[in-house]
Symmetry: D2
Subunit: 433 residues, 4 copies
Amino acid sequence: MQSDINAYVSTLEDQLITLRRDFHQYPELGWHEIRTASLIAAELARNNIAFKLGKEVFKVEDRMGLPSQAEMDENYQRALEQGADPEYAPLLKDGFTGIVATIGEGSGPAVALRFDIDALPIMESDEADHVPQAGGFRSVNDGVMHSCGHDGHAAIGLGVCKTLKHFESELKAPVKIFFQPAEEGVRGAKAMSNSGELDNIDYLLTGHIAFKAKSSNTLIVSTDGFLATSKLDAVFKGKSAHAGAAPQDGKNALLAAATAVLNLHAIPRHAGGFSQINVGKMNAGTMRNGICADATLLIETRGYDSAINEYMEEKAQRILKAAADMYDCEVDITFEGSAASGDSDSEVADVAREVAAEITEYTEISEDPNFNGSEDATFLMSKVQKQGGKAGYMMFGSEIAENHHHPRFDFNEVSIASAVKLVSGMAIRISQK
Amino acid sequence: MQSDINAYVSTLEDQLITLRRDFHQYPELGWHEIRTASLIAAELARNNIAFKLGKEVFKVEDRMGLPSQAEMDENYQRALEQGADPEYAPLLKDGFTGIVATIGEGSGPAVALRFDIDALPIMESDEADHVPQAGGFRSVNDGVMHSCGHDGHAAIGLGVCKTLKHFESELKAPVKIFFQPAEEGVRGAKAMSNSGELDNIDYLLTGHIAFKAKSSNTLIVSTDGFLATSKLDAVFKGKSAHAGAAPQDGKNALLAAATAVLNLHAIPRHAGGFSQINVGKMNAGTMRNGICADATLLIETRGYDSAINEYMEEKAQRILKAAADMYDCEVDITFEGSAASGDSDSEVADVAREVAAEITEYTEISEDPNFNGSEDATFLMSKVQKQGGKAGYMMFGSEIAENHHHPRFDFNEVSIASAVKLVSGMAIRISQK
Amino acid sequence: MQSDINAYVSTLEDQLITLRRDFHQYPELGWHEIRTASLIAAELARNNIAFKLGKEVFKVEDRMGLPSQAEMDENYQRALEQGADPEYAPLLKDGFTGIVATIGEGSGPAVALRFDIDALPIMESDEADHVPQAGGFRSVNDGVMHSCGHDGHAAIGLGVCKTLKHFESELKAPVKIFFQPAEEGVRGAKAMSNSGELDNIDYLLTGHIAFKAKSSNTLIVSTDGFLATSKLDAVFKGKSAHAGAAPQDGKNALLAAATAVLNLHAIPRHAGGFSQINVGKMNAGTMRNGICADATLLIETRGYDSAINEYMEEKAQRILKAAADMYDCEVDITFEGSAASGDSDSEVADVAREVAAEITEYTEISEDPNFNGSEDATFLMSKVQKQGGKAGYMMFGSEIAENHHHPRFDFNEVSIASAVKLVSGMAIRISQK
Amino acid sequence: MQSDINAYVSTLEDQLITLRRDFHQYPELGWHEIRTASLIAAELARNNIAFKLGKEVFKVEDRMGLPSQAEMDENYQRALEQGADPEYAPLLKDGFTGIVATIGEGSGPAVALRFDIDALPIMESDEADHVPQAGGFRSVNDGVMHSCGHDGHAAIGLGVCKTLKHFESELKAPVKIFFQPAEEGVRGAKAMSNSGELDNIDYLLTGHIAFKAKSSNTLIVSTDGFLATSKLDAVFKGKSAHAGAAPQDGKNALLAAATAVLNLHAIPRHAGGFSQINVGKMNAGTMRNGICADATLLIETRGYDSAINEYMEEKAQRILKAAADMYDCEVDITFEGSAASGDSDSEVADVAREVAAEITEYTEISEDPNFNGSEDATFLMSKVQKQGGKAGYMMFGSEIAENHHHPRFDFNEVSIASAVKLVSGMAIRISQK
């Protein structure tokens, strides 16, 4: 069976690479993936694959870190100009850039697969030896780049859809394929996981290109130790006054924010496990000689598990409020993203191991017991696990030119077909359990 | 007239020096002046001078910075052992160590005089060339010393009482003489000024030995620019926890207090005039490996005028409360002392000038336009000024061995008689206006 | 004599208002006054008035807060497009937008007059009842506005030049007229005052429209109490690192800057007189999940006199360096502006009083003993005072629509002619002393 | 064999309890264990056991957190008065209160055993139902208490010495028994571990009464996850000045220390594993109206392993120095204690398991994978492990009345004999390997 899959996927390899390069050339930031998602939808339609998209596949109020309406409007126009599918684009508009495809039926264990599709606010290298530059598919969108490999994830997802459609008769249960927006900043998964689309799902498979699997012969079948995280924005509002003539009339938002910064970092760490906090950005004030009336902090907390992250987040909120109060300011705190803690189930790893044994590219199999980072796939994983199902997070090995999020990041495209073989094989095998 | 006064005072000089040395040898801290005040009372009685003392001359709740009951009990015992008058001591007990004597009558302008009588928590020098040591009247109370000259003030006050009694027939109005406790820390004046004893007073005269008048030929007839000040204690209560095993269970009073310290010092200064704040002392915690549950700050604010001081004090309170709240602690803020801003009236300075012209010791007369410190005599001054009266603060010139508050502070005792001549003469002259 | 001056100035009034409106419509920020200064130069040339401009009238290295070369290039182009004089513009290029005109000769006391000519980064109101909008001379340069009246100062300066030229024979000494750039941010005066152009000057006259003289009948003949000030930028450089995966590898510039902010505001204030500090702006970091590697603070200190300001500035530098060191960062501190403390001489005020007595518009004459703000005219004033001369700072009364620096600021144009009469009359009178 | 040991130990039980109660009644703080150690030495001598003590068993300069000479002198006197052995006491004087006994010989694996003997600065409960109170052996040393069971450890150590002496012929190698002072505050072990006495040791066995083994039937055979820790004192020296009259002349040690406190707590935590910091105590300043010139911080850092602790400690030192520099103060940093990270070897656990199987009291055997605290036994453990040996840390189960370090702490004395049986049996068995 797996050898049939392997053979079929090999016939797709060139078109998947073409797709990946197209996505790479037109990268879109989280919640702006109009072109990307509309082309995925069109491709699914061309392959007679059923799918839902847009508002149907999100719990609307659980979307986090949405851009402004103006930004969404502008990016929508650009997407249309750059070839977004005019039929599907309107359905994805205004922050609904996700798709759930369904293939197969039956009473076997239902499987969900998840692929993320967004790019990063990074200016791609234009050095001659950077492969996308040399290959003519460097980003045309200034300051936006697929430097985390989600262009590859999108291509893998489409490859898996095609393969499962081809072998649909082997599926003994429905398989749902999630194309998820806005993984960067951990903003998109929560709303998809709470959409109802995961009800009745027994297995959730997902993963990432490369990371700790840094050769295309390597497969990490199981990843544990995802950190829970929260992303908060705090906006302080004070009152301006002339710093020379009447400082006593002001309400100093800059002092409030600076006090918050120090005390946020000083939160006593939880003895129950790893906990972190970072204020990564602060903007405050407009002029030297005025008492600053506005300050903004971008904050993230992390915890070994969701309870510890919640401890950090609650302390952070208390500190922000007290720091504002100290200077008679107001503070507005908004949640811009979050991810749960998470671990993979060994049962999924076992299936991965079995299937990988029949894929010649994968010669080294291992596990990662300690991811020590955050991924919002954990929302889908924990949703399925809480309803009694199993989840697994894999790393699809690939040689990379530079680390993820680097302007010269690039991966070995042979990894696309290998991953399609693996995930398709796993989905079929699980459905037959 | 003044020459008669001068001649009389000269006959008192030796006994006033003896009194001063006795007070010097048995110094008592603020609110503990049991021996000092009881001996003053006894002396007044011996001279048939009417006086009130104890609870009658205070607004009870306006006393600030009272010692603990245990300290008061202990000092009371010591006072008795050291010769406090057994008739008056009980009336002065528990923080009521003030006296108001009254001499003269008539419908002329009523005059009040004020002398402060407390010592400082300073260990007096025992070096052989320190005059009190050489003269055998060094402090016998370990760690307590008259190093600001209030022993001299007490002697001057008694000298003035005797002199006015002697010339009582010249007085055309009642003169009230206030012996005030607890000037150090600006704790005692407010309660005496609000006792009702200043009602109907038209002139308030007070002053200090030396300070900026550093020779016994010098008299400063007018002092302006007293800073308003408040003395606050802040006690933070948090919750202890093991710093290694469960820091998350603690409420960190040390972090709350450290945050308060920085932000107190960072209060935007008032553009309307000089403003200051100082946290002079902080004690927090008991052990290295525990989350600190208790922290205490000793704070003072100062302002060019009382409104600016109030601005600083209100900001300070807000900061203390928010810092506590930031770490889920409680904070208890108590007022340990305060003084108003203040200036002298030129009319009083004119009288001083006239009288001094007839006292041969005073050959240099000047004014101090900018005291730039605090004194709680300002409460009595501003009380009288607000009811339409006039007030004056003088500096009685004297050579000093070291600066005020120094372990080797000492002044030239010839200044005692000069000051008695001056103040007595002024009181009589004013009553005759 | 003054009546002749008054009569002549009245004939200029319309053209001065036209000039003011032209300057108002084409406002230029500090060091960008290419069009403004080149048109002033052309006007001087047309009137046969001798002048120097550009590099000759600056001490090059004392210019502070220069814009970037790119900004200067861009503004230069705009100035040319908006009618800058092509002969003089090249001489003013790259931050040399000042002029010194000279009229008269003789051995009388040499007089210098100073007028500042720059605008502010403020978006001018476009409300229908805002006079420049209604009158069709609202700023055409987006976000730049003459909202402090320096357009009026430039017009007054030209009016004085024409008047003095007209009455040149009355001048018994040379009068130098300084047109100074970049007063906003106190950046331009130091370099002009140290250029050598003030050598041998005996009197320096300058002033401002309105401020505390809020009716056109009012003249303030003397201003005291200018605060010394320094404007500092501090740029912290740290090292970025992933906040989740490797915070220990970063050097946190945001924590360094926040620590600096609190401690800058906490500098113990000087007891010798008023002192202030403000951090008005802070920008730090680029993303939530990175250790921040770059932070910038905009700081100003003020002091009652230059020594106290220097105390604040030195403490600030120490704190900035230590805060950087605390997080293993570098900090680069640059001076973006400064002004000295200063007072006016009563001799100049007396001349102003005499001349004003002959100008019917001025019916109320007063003095301002406490400016409580900063102005870089103090550099020129103190330069002249230090070489034994006298200086005076006046306020030319005018009704204003809103306070200085407000988007709806506007002043009553009748004030222009009154000020020209006054300053011209004073210069002639002084030269005749 | 073990049954012989068990039987012999049972005959010692009463005298071991008597010894423990004697140690309990005369508790001594770290480095003051003159009476305790001298009586242990005397007991060893009475049993003809060879031992070294005092300077011979320490690397002198590695002793940390030594009390002042005055405290040592005072405690020495008290020890003599309370029955210290006059022969040995002088050898233990001045912070050399350790002993190393040696029993057996041969070429088998050499074993070291370590018992700590110091008490805590805690006031023991005098409630009637507190066993030591009821039993008449409550601490007679006010404010000092054996509330961590080291009195039991000393008794166990002596019991093991007697037992091994009794079965000396069974020993196939020398066994060294360390009696260590000053474990509290992790101050004593480093100097003993670096004394040379551990050279050639192949196995190190140590442990603690109770902790996580809270019934006398329980034995924890292996403890992992000791946190590395450092104990630092930081003393800031600034310069005093009058807060009202001349704050600008001071160097504010309180502001320096408060800044350090916030930034110490704000050290970005290491992603490589658990890291903590705590400032548990701060004392600064003497009076409200003075710029504070002296401040002291008591600090501890902890890390998952020694490298991470070192990271925290280095950052802490940098922050302390920069905070001092920020206010032109000096800071003196001293190390008052430290412990390494550590894990037990399974080979030792296996021996413990085998021996325990023959001791009827131990019915529940387990392991503690995560101690999450610090113990300076880790210095001896890691010394032996680094030279190729094995180490094990056990917990000897016992019912306790209250948690360790509580005024009502007490343990079940039956645990003494059980631990003696176990440790003696293990030493013999290992020596025979």
